[in-house]
């Protein structure tokens, strides 16, 4: 069963949980990536690397406007064209205009979360342009007409058989489940597109302010293709994706690769500083950089700046017990997992638009432990919950529940007598239903729908303690 992206949050979660194939595919893949990350970070001074990348990113955000201006100046002097986009419509219009000015009909694209965020493919297709995703995983989900479900591994939710079915149906592939054959087919098909395309679009893993350089990181080489083969190259970058120097870029690159897939370095880090000059054999004639805000400056002002240090490695997704159970689609947003649960509401015009996401967490802290920038995600999730309460967005029943809990807990007498009643009631009920409680009325059936409820201990701790003291004659 597939997750219906348009269904309400709880329904999506339910759909995801009732799909055993999805759960096994996601948990197998996330376990593999987590193990690789662990081994890779343990083989170096991992803690020091995390501390240093964090220090560098904090410095960037403290001097954010200055670094953006420096990047803009250097990109421009290298011959690139810089565009600023406030939101989704702006960004779509900028990219569409570049395509139309260059009469581009076919666009090749490498994987990019920023372009997912602005629904770029949809907008370009509406304008009559054909956009082809070239990352193997993205290509598969584009053929299957689904959004990505993981920041670095977009097709993590699909098993090989399902991918083979997509290839058979959409590419007329002869029946096979041989990964090498499937990859060869994709290579051949996409090679034609690379050679025919007028325009290439990518995201930007990081941009170097001092040299005006756009860096993209891929294992397949599609990032290099997209930024080298077509005549026009457009990079769409979130305005926070800055590093000051080339050395900082190399440091962050290593933190990114190790945290994302456990590699020392990914196969390709492609660094573009400008368009082709006279005498160059290849390379794009035009390089455009779209600097995308889309809520980032607002998120910064709201106090969620710490999450803007994110380098999109996906380590927190792999470590998260909630993500492992429900996968990416259940979140219903471009960014998922713990980081998605923070930045989706924080970037939105109103955080209440995504009020469920700060609750899609067990607050276990595993995400914080693996984050290469040491972002305190559990604290940010709590901050969001607190903002939701202050804005009155949380459900009334929750406010009422917390109020009653507070009054109950502030009186020892009430607490003890309620405890006694619960003990007697639950033990009688359990006795009638054979030891454990199998059903409770709403809203408590949230528990018994999935598991039995053990009755309260016949004696409370306090009661037992008092008796113990009495027995020892210490009253």
């Amino acid at each position: 069963m597939q997750v219906d992206f348009h269904a309400p949050y709880k329904d999506r979660v339910r759909q995801a949980l009732s799909d055993p194939n999805l759960r096994s595919a996601v948990s197998r893949a996330t376990d593999r990536m987590s193990d690789a990350r662990h081994t890779s970070m343990d083989s170096i001074e991992g803690q020091k690397l995390r501390t240093q990348v964090r220090q560098m990113k904090e410095h960037v955000l403290r001097n954010w406007p200055e670094y953006l201006e420096q990047l803009e100046t250097n990109l421009t002097s290298n011959g690139c064209t810089v565009h600023w986009a406030e939101g989704i419509e702006d960004a779509q219009a900028i990219v569409k205009d570049i395509a139309l000015q260059n009469s581009a009909k076919l666009i090749v694209k490498s994987k990019s979360m920023a372009t997912e965020e602005i629904h770029l493919n949809h907008a370009m297709e509406e304008a009559g342009l054909r956009v082809v995703e070239t990352d193997l995983g993205e290509y598969i989900i584009q053929l299957a007409d689904e959004p990505p479900s993981h920041i670095v591994a977009p097709v993590i939710h699909k098993r090989l058989e399902e991918i083979a079915e997509v290839f058979q149906e959409k590419l007329d592939m002869p029946p096979t489940r041989e990964p090498t054959k499937m990859t060869s087919l994709a290579r051949a098909r996409l090679r034609q597109e690379f050679f025919a395309a007028t325009m290439g679009i990518s995201g930007c893993n990081f941009a170097i302010a001092e040299t005006g350089t756009i860096c993209i990181v891929t294992n397949e080489g599609n990032g290099r293709m997209v930024s080298s083969m077509p005549r026009v190259y457009v990079a769409v970058m979130g305005i926070e994706k800055l590093v000051p120097t080339v050395e900082d870029a190399y440091l962050q690159l290593q933190a990114l690769c190790r945290s994302a897939t456990g590699q020392n370095l990914t196969v390709y880090c492609s660094m573009t500083s400008g368009p082709r000059q006279e005498g160059d054999v290849d390379g794009p004639e035009q390089v455009h950089v779209v600097l995308l805000d889309n809520g980032r400056s607002r998120m910064f002002a709201r106090g969620y700046g710490e999450a803007l240090m994110c380098i999109r490695c996906g380590a927190c997704l792999n470590a998260c017990p909630v993500y492992q159970e429900i996968g990416g689609h259940a979140y219903g947003s471009t960014y998922n997992g713990p980081i998605g649960a923070v930045i989706t509401p924080a970037l939105a015009p109103e955080i209440g638009q995504f009020k469920e996401l700060p609750h899609a967490t067990s607050l276990c802290g595993a995400c914080r432990e693996v984050c290469p920038v040491k972002i305190d995600l559990p604290r940010l999730l709590l901050d969001l919950r607190s903002d939701l309460v202050q804005q009155g967005v949380s459900p009334k029943s929750e406010a009422w529940g917390i109020k009653s809990y507070a009054s109950l807990m502030s009186s020892r007498r009430t607490y003890e007598s309620l405890g006694k009643m619960a003990s007697i009631g639950s033990n009688v009920y359990a006795g009638l239903s054979g030891g454990n409680i199998k059903f409770m009325p709403p809203p408590l059936n949230g528990w018994t729908a999935y598991r039995d409820f053990a009755p309260f201990a016949p004696k409370s701790f306090r009661h037992w303690w008092r008796q113990r003291k009495k027995l020892r004659g210490q009253t």
Partner: protein, 254 residues
């Protein structure tokens, strides 16, 4: 106000808030002295060359370490022959594939620092393609059928088995990207213990900034193209080369 100015002034206004929870007021940059070197490759150049080979092998590349330029020349030729034969036997139509059909996309050969290589390769029947403009449809069409690419490097890093290829002038980016096989020739003088070492040396010489900008495109390459998108199963040669073979030779003789 332009979009640019609106965004920048919003950021500036936020940073001026005295009680902004993040980022901390005293956020110092990471200095050259304190920035860590992530991986290490101790030892002399030969030890580093061995480490390079070990790292490249670990990511499914392959490598030869040679003592002289002459050996490197022989190795380049025999590697190309080997690839040609491999392909012929794979296709099982040996007579259809003559040496003359085997196009190789090459950087200008004088850059490989190996004397008389072009002449020998041509004599052996390899057709060396040296395009001048890959936006020209005819030249573009020709590189579709190339079987291998030969390049040298800007630098190579022992601790990760990586190399840096630039993309300006006659050095086609396509040579290390579009063919199935990439033969990369690395003289020891271009080999550094780590990426950080190379960057430090370039910075110290005052060349880093200009080098990065003037290169237009630099790619740090670590092994052959690969993907794990098909249920985590590793497949090679998705878009870039499936085979990366490095020939390192000692041009330093310390």
């Amino acid at each position: 106000m332009s979009v640019r100015d609106t965004i920048l002034s919003r950021l500036k206004a936020t940073l001026n808030q005295p009680d902004l929870p993040f980022p901390p007021q005293d956020s110092d940059p990471l200095t050259q002295a304190e920035r860590m070197t992530v991986t290490h490759a101790p030892g002399d150049r030969w030890a580093q060359a061995e480490r390079f080979a070990q790292e490249l092998n670990a990511v499914k590349g392959s490598c030869e370490l040679l003592e002289t330029e002459t050996e490197a020349r022989l190795s380049i030729i025999s590697r190309l022959q080997l690839w040609q034969e491999e392909e012929q036997s794979a296709r099982k139509t040996a007579n259809a594939e003559r040496a003359g059909d085997w196009d190789v996309l090459c950087w200008p050969l004088h850059q490989l620092q190996i004397e008389s290589l072009p002449l020998i390769l041509k004599e052996m029947g390899f057709k060396l393609i040296e395009p001048t403009d890959l936006h020209d449809p005819e030249q573009r069409e020709r590189i579709r059928s190339i079987r291998a690419g030969i390049t040298t490097v800007e630098a190579a890093f022992a601790s990760t088995g990586s190399f840096v290829v630039g993309g300006r002038g006659a050095n086609a980016r396509a040579a290390s990207l579009t063919p199935f096989r990439h033969l990369v020739v690395i003289p020891f003088s271009k080999l550094f213990a780590t990426g950080e070492d190379w960057l430090a040396q370039m910075r110290f010489a005052g060349q880093l900034d200009a080098f990065v900008r003037q290169s237009r495109n630099l790619s740090i390459v670590t092994g052959p193209s690969k993907s794990a998108d098909l249920e985590g199963i590793l497949t090679m040669g998705v878009h870039g080369p499936k085979v990366v073979h490095a020939i390192l030779f000692d041009d330093v003789h310390e």
